[in-house]
Assembly symmetry: C2
Homo-oligomer: 355 residues x 2
């Protein structure tokens, strides 16, 4: 008989619990623990873990605690066994990897999450299609890396290998500073709305898009800004320098520099790759729509009937008002079918290559 | 027999053409003109206007040209007749209203738009449910204001009356500075991505939301930043000051100030009113979903079958990954029907009052 591979998860929050479920589904035996007794009990009840407590026979330990606890737990458990592989799921990698500094430790960060919490929010599909960063070092043991890589694959995620420093620099750009900016933009509007209640009535789709992530709970953010301070400050300073330049452009009416900036941003935004597929296989389909409920259902139903798979979809709200454009990524070989179906229903789609 | 009321539209871009169609549908006779002959011809072909050229019998002139031309055209036509009412649709109001300064001129700004252009993109429904700002002055003729107000109502828009200065201050907050910020945030990421191609693979929902409006064409923006420079600079400086403070918070690890900021932004964002309905009539329904095409169609179909009207809908992407929450605004009296329908389909909706 084959014996199940054994993993242990410390920290049964959303990520830890979801990974436990994903590993169980892939045939692993998973035990777990949490500092919170209620959470442990709930995880056992829901079958998120098969057992509570430390597993002396586990080949893998996943540390899914808040970032501040990772290094201490990982180091202690690495020292207590000579064959245990350890990984973590923290949002910042540099300080953790430098502090643990062990051949059997592989730093990790699944770029996945939801507004749900704990074992009750756990979902074995949480990581499917998500990017999962691993940050091996020169000293990393090959077998340890292979084990953690298997976990990423078992969870259905796409592996991205980066140095801890690069990881921290990149998430500062695509996640940490945007979050800070959204909060501050919303705060500026909130300040202004205390004088003018009408302000919020004028907030249309573009403003809503830009401030949406500011609606989230503060949660993990204070730790992130503390642990990733150097990278965040570098990106924040780059943004502040660009806003200083924007100020100059406006004061001096430097039309050419303004158009250059807007064109540069436009090209970069339009070239953002859709997730998990190759851009060269896709076309972008733009469908002008009334920005109302029902229109998404209608367009997706039309495409479904025409056997067209939708690989990515977003609504480009107009800066003001109720109009929008559905931007879809479709396989290039489904363009004709999509065009025919949409035109028959009265829409005016336009297509262009994505790559 | 009743004689049709007569309006003239100068400038047959998207807004001018759409308004011409909306007025025609409301029974008005509409003539129009444009500096571009091809556009004029196309507007006539499509029935956007009934006639080309100046209408000496029009009671209303709508100046729908770029902002730079509005004051000259409006002043000339006001001087040529003693009973003509004139309005405009420019995105900035202070300079225009101050320059025209006439009892029969009422400044206006419909907060509507789309990515479409000219008579071909025209749509009489463009303004339905949109906010339409009018900026009457103390000297404004009552009859002139009543006429323009009728136009707003005929177009199906919701009237918001503001002073030109307040209008310009508010659109700087909810539209102009957010646009500038999105462009600069995208530019910072584009700069970073030249060193690290992996960066763009890590850009998940939150970043996409924040930079979406940066994908638009530069178009009208240089004029807007020129004409609304004072208000834009004031808001931009408020944002820059807040980002300076954010820098201090991070450098000094001022956890309390950070949580205060994030809580303030969260409350303000969650209290953004849905458009065109009274918050006290609505509940917010949050449905955790996998952020994939098809899920919107599925949820809206369930609600439709349960006879639940959706008044507002947005996807709250998680900061990272493929999970999201559908946030719907529903009438309070449809909460039970929505809960039953969604739970029967395996969703876990939660509800809370919106006001």
């Amino acid at each position: 008989v084959t014996t199940a591979r054994r993993a242990e998860v410390i920290g049964l929050g959303l990520i830890g619990s979801s990974l436990a479920l994903a590993l169980s589904r892939a045939g692993w035996h998973v035990s777990g623990s949490d500092i919170d007794d209620t959470r442990e009990k709930r995880a056992l009840e829901l079958g998120v873990v098969s057992e509570l407590g430390e597993d002396p026979d586990a080949e893998l330990l996943v540390v899914a605690t808040p970032v501040a606890q990772i290094a201490e737990i990982a180091s202690r458990r690495l020292a207590s066994r000579d064959d245990l592989v350890v990984t973590d799921v923290g949002s910042v990698k540099g300080p953790v990897v430098a502090s643990v500094d062990h051949p059997r430790f592989v730093g990790g960060h699944p770029m996945a999450g939801s507004e749900q919490e704990g074992p009750d929010g756990a979902d074995p599909d949480l990581f499917i299609g998500a990017s999962w960063v691993l940050t091996p070092a020169a000293s990393t043991d090959e077998r340890a890396f292979a084990t953690v890589r298997e976990v990423v694959a078992a969870a259905g995620a796409e592996l991205v290998v980066l140095s801890p420093r690069d990881h921290d620099a990149l998430v500062a750009v695509v996640s940490h500073v945007p979050h800070l900016t959204a909060a501050n933009l919303m705060a500026v509007a909130a300040d202004a709305s205390t004088e003018h209640a009408a302000l919020l009535r004028l907030a249309a789709g573009g403003f809503r898009d830009m401030t949406r992530i500011a609606a989230g709970d503060p949660g993990i953010w204070p730790d992130i800004f503390k642990d990733n301070a150097p990278a965040v400050l570098e990106v924040l300073d780059a943004l502040r320098a660009r806003l200083d330049e924007a100020r100059r452009i406006i004061v001096e009416e430097d039309r050419e520099a303004l158009v250059d900036l807007l064109e540069y941003a436009k090209r970069a935004r339009r070239n953002l790759p859709p997730k998990a597929v190759r851009p060269e296989d896709l076309v972008e389909c733009r469908v002008p729509v009334l920005d109302r409920p029902g229109v998404l259902a209608e367009v997706t139903a039309i495409l479904s009937r025409a056997s067209v798979n939708v690989w990515d979809l977003e609504i480009a709200h107009s800066a003001e008002g109720e109009r929008g454009v559905l931007v879809l990524a479709l396989r290039a070989d489904s363009e004709d079918a999509a065009r025919a179906g949409l035109q028959a229903a009265g829409y005016r789609p336009s297509f262009r290559p994505l790559s």
